[in-house]
């Protein structure tokens, strides 16, 4: 019954990334391939992968959490204020709790009032960013600087351990547990999911809580890299995650094609591209963003075209098989 066929649309992003990697490596005169550069890219990627692990659940439902970046800033600030004196571990826990709470509010608001989550999380983003601005304007230095006992977190073995543990957790929850299937089914067709007995509201709330939780978890990863927080911390975080996930081949509308491996390819991919651009002489912020946008457009268009081609191939094959079958035993339906 099973018939394995290569789905080319899934390979487009990977191929595109390899091409970009080679181009960037050439343009940066090999700087991109140096051990130090690779370590720095890895270091940079971990926080974004953590965030993407949470975004995966909402994105598979065809939703998006636009408040993830501000979530990073809020949860780190709250955690620093509450338990900042006690070192990184208590901070990590409080960050996760604050993050999950923000996510829960997102989820509950959208489920109860049946409002589009994009709008809800945008409102959350604006509101929380406002609060953060108020806090930092009233603080003396306008920034928070981490003490040594917090910066002790910024070590590759600690960070990799946490990354691996939570990646495994998400593999379990998303790829194997019914919960992951439910999220993806909602992304495919929310009416069908509802009528098939899936509690859409509950699943939505849980998915947004997970997104918030991972946003909070990512906070320390990001803030330790810069040594603390300012009012700008986390800006653009969710956009980079989305870009990376699309780059990895994640379907924009969610659904069954959402897979964890796509973010594990896509996030390091976007980091390579961004760092590679940084290393090329003469590339400023403007060109930088232009390239980001062009990459996004290229991925979206290419995957779309190839997906349609794959679908047409299926239809043609089907029609052929049916007409042959009809010749062999007419009348069979």
């Amino acid at each position: 019954m099973k018939q394995k066929k290569i789905n080319w649309s899934e390979l487009v992003p990977l191929a595109l990334m390899i091409v970009l990697f080679i181009v960037l490596a050439l343009f940066s005169q090999g700087k991109l391939l140096k051990a130090k550069a690779i370590e720095s890219i890895l270091n940079q990627s971990i926080g974004y992968i953590i965030g993407a692990l949470g975004m995966l659940f909402v994105m598979s439902m065809g939703q998006v959490d636009m408040s993830m970046g501000v979530n990073v800033c809020v949860s780190a600030t709250v955690a620093w204020l509450l338990v900042g004196d006690y070192g990184w571990f208590p901070m990590l826990i409080v960050c996760c709790i604050v993050g999950a709470l923000i996510g829960a509010v997102n989820g509950i608001l959208s489920a109860v009032f049946d409002v589009d989550t994009f709008m809800i999380t945008i409102a959350m983003q604006i509101g929380l960013r406002g609060l953060i601005n108020v806090y930092f304007q009233n603080s003396e230095t306008g920034r928070i600087v981490f003490a040594k006992n917090i910066l002790a977190f910024d070590k590759l073995p600690i960070k990799l351990t946490i990354l691996i543990l939570f990646t495994l957790l998400v593999v379990y929850l998303f790829e194997f547990h019914p919960f992951g299937y439910r999220c993806r089914a909602i992304g495919e067709n929310v009416v069908c999911a509802h009528e098939s007995g899936i509690d859409v509201k509950k699943t939505k709330i849980l998915a947004f809580m997970l997104a918030g939780f991972f946003g909070g978890l990512a906070a320390l990863f990001l803030c330790c890299r810069t040594g603390g927080m300012t009012r700008e911390t986390g800006t653009g975080f969710e956009m980079r995650i989305l870009l990376g996930m699309f780059l990895g081949g994640m379907p924009v509308g969610g659904g069954m094609d959402s897979r964890i491996y796509k973010l594990l390819i896509g996030i390091p991919g976007i980091m390579i591209i961004l760092s590679g651009l940084n290393m090329i002489k003469g590339v400023g912020t403007g060109e930088f963003q232009l390239v980001e946008a062009l990459i996004l457009l290229a991925i979206l268009l290419l995957s779309r075209v190839i997906k349609q081609a794959m679908y047409n191939r299926d239809i043609v094959a089907m029609a052929k098989a049916l007409s042959e079958d009809e010749k062999r035993n007419p009348g069979n339906v």
Partner: protein
Amino acid sequence: MSEKEILFEARGICKSFGPTRANQDVDITLRAGEIHALAGENGSGKSTLISILCGMQKPDAGEMFVKGQPYAPKSPLDAYANNIGFVVQELGIINDLPVAYNIYLGNLERYKQGPVLNTTSIFRDAKAELEKHGFDVPVRELAGNLPVEKRKLTEITKAMTVEPSILILDETTQALSYDTRHKLYGIIEEEKKKGTAILFVTHDVEEMCELADVVTVLRDGRLAADLEGDDVNVDNVRLKMVGRKVEGSYYRDDMEPSALPEVAVEVRDLSHGKAFQGVSFDVNYGEIVGICGLSDAGIHELGKTICGILKANTGTVYLPRKNKFIKSPKAAVNSGMAYVPKDRDSEALMMGTTIHYNELVPSLTELANTVGMIMPSDANNLSDTAAIDFNVRCLGTNQAIGALSGGNKQKVSISRWLVKQNLDILIMDCPTRGVDVGVKAYIYSLIKQLKEKGMALILVADEMSEAIGMADRIVVLKDGKLNGILNRHPGLDEHEVIEVMI
């Protein structure tokens, strides 16, 4: 063939939707002063053909002529311009506009006074037009506030305003009550005398044979027969429609009701908004209960409310064996109740993905093992079993579901529930809608098997013949109220059901 003037000709019309060939090389000729009926089972391509004639769809191949001139409509406006008036199956009405505007929509030019419309004369003309046909419809009312019958009358009036030389009516009589139906017959006869060519579709073969001079029969998208004169009789038309299959093997052979003694579903005083109110009945295990009614009677909403998809305003749905009240689809699914919706593509299936995932979704909880994981091998087993046991014609379960034909999609829509182990109550809304004859026979035999296995079945039926052919009891709704419950008995026919319906 008669010598009357040919008003319309279509030659070699072909139209495919994906792998489904809705029309294959269909010819049809309409003559002045002739009533021409288009017959065929559901999914035989009647509506596709009509939508092509009206300019709502473009044919893949074939040509059309109006009074000898080539006719290739790009939109329904081209049909109007060629004096083709039509009433289509889906309501071609804009709910947020008053009746009068709907009547002259697409034809408002003549009411233009500079940049604005002369509304007074629109209302005046619409009123006169409706009165001319003896229809009682308020012209200032928004069309959406009217019952289906009045909306249909609005559409008929609209079709008449183009002063049609060709009048097309697609299943128009179905929505009309007995007396309005006869008013429509009057209009048809009058138009015939005027020399208009009339093409109409109806599921009521007796009605068809009484009115029509010529009958064109479609089967599986192909032309099956052109009948005229003495050949136009009920038996002959039925035979041509169904082809090699005989009516007897289609539905149940026994005409006595049967059921197990245990009650499966107790529906008590159930209401949902304006759709239906205070409906009570029981369904036993091993019993098929049909639900029938005219278009706005609330039958589809009743089916959806029973399984918790729509919220009940009053009343309860209770499953005695499980001691459970059903208030949400989740509760229904957990209690072994399933719902197969009428709207297959947008409700029943996830059209963007594969057969595999579609088969999986209702069974997610059962598939998880002790540590809560769904192993790929178990998932593959389930979807392969479903596709093989229920004879889904595909290249493999990894195939996109969108490439399947309507009938095979319907098999997926039903089988995804039947592979669940604890399922014993099944609600189906028009399960044979838009599937070809063979799959239709297959689905009926499946329903018979499920009844024998002791499953409780609720069959919401748009087509009376389906309920009469399959159900042990028929619950009849009228304007949202329970109007009677008919038991299966020898000689039960559509007239008996219609009497309770209207």
